[in-house]
Symmetry: D2
Subunit: 144 residues, 4 copies
């Protein structure tokens, strides 16, 4: 059990999409935010910095969006589902963009290879929360 | 001319929805993020803290979402319009929720009255960017 | 009266170094954090990006440190003076470093000229809070 | 090997106090920042919220300071040792304060017990970096 899942489990507020799924998204955001912060700084120090501009710009936004997404997910009390939905949507798209760009540099910069993997994992974990939410909506419509 | 608009104007990257509209949204996010951070802390110190819980929880999320929105808007280079759209959508909803809650306490807590106004202004400025974007899409569809 | 000073003034908690001095530091941090975020992104888009590496790296740290400093200053309730002191110390040094580097590029990049000015103003406003604190300590020692 | 240590190891910049020690501090900050964000929100939802005010206020500052500290540590390129020192100093003090307060509520709120542990671990990991730095300074003075 990780600290994030343990913390959600100890919350007096019920966790709508399940402690494990939300904790997985929080942890993926934590790892991705750190990897992007580090990757932007490493890319800046590379000889081919002119080729790394897009990577750096995307990593900057990705670190911020992942950090805010994990904070919003860590605050279930009085949370608004529409806001969570929009933040997850921004995060999935951002991580996918960033992963795609980092993959282009993965062969020559190991930090990009690691960062791309972290961003893919984050897009997946946040995407799974969006799917769980969509499924729940469908069940409601079906009178479930 | 404010520093935010001056900075956008000095960017080598063209500002899609116009320097003034984007700068207005950035500045509204700056003010709203600070007001929410302050309002959450002041509410915590009030005698009726038990009545202020929802206000504090919303202010916490609102401060983070406004901060990330202003950072994303401050980085036009290599920006992805879909991500900007989703962050603005999260920000408008968050600021509207937060303003509505703060307005309920505005008569007895002046910090809530000021914070509600800052959140309303931010929802408006970010909403105007979303409208400018929707209008541009329509023009494209119309072959404009 | 600005929103930041109005918010501090509406806080149920007394503001140790005076509403105006603390509000001035908060606002200078807000402006500097935004200018640094913008300057890093603009520098990334410049043709001479290889010459702008140090500027970008410092702006990245400066934006984060200014944002956290303004948040800490916006939360007087239960604030610990030693922590405020250390954050102000980090912020003054960071803004001075960043201003110095941006000044080196000010003649050919207008965003660096504006950013340098914002960082200098922030170093000054936060430095004045540190001086007010030092003066208060001296007065205590003198039995004042 | 964790993602944070892997990222530092892949950086083109040498890591002054060693990849393992810096990665340990970064990871401790990641866990502590998330735990504090979660603990503030859970405390807000508790029946005894009036008793939890100081805990919430400290957790709010602690989450921000840990986030900025981990970002600064994740950017070794062009890093200024004095700034790193001051951020670590703010972080150690903040985490110690926060842990102490959370420990007072640990018996009746499990989220406080977990959060206190995360803060203690972060104070320790950041404190070890400060000691490594002090030791290096001593060695220099001794002509080592």
């Amino acid at each position: 059990m990780t600290v994030a899942s343990d913390m959600l489990d100890a919350s007096p507020v019920p966790i709508e999409f399940g402690v494990e799924a939300v904790a997985a998204a929080i942890e993926a955001c934590m790892v991705s935010a750190q990897a992007c912060t580090s990757c932007a700084n490493s890319s800046l120090a590379e000889d081919d910095v002119a080729m790394m501009r897009r990577c750096i710009a995307l990593c900057d936004d990705c670190a911020d969006i992942c950090t805010t997404t994990l904070r919003v997910l860590s605050r279930p009390f009085e949370a608004d589902r529409v806001i969570t939905h929009r933040m997850l949507g921004a995060c999935v798209r951002m991580c996918s963009d960033c992963a795609e760009e980092c993959e282009r540099h993965a062969a020559h910069h190991r930090h990009c290879a690691i960062c791309a993997k972290a961003c893919r994992a984050c897009a997946r974990a946040c995407g799974e929360l969006l799917e769980a939410e969509a499924f729940q909506e469908l069940e409601k419509l079906a009178g479930g």
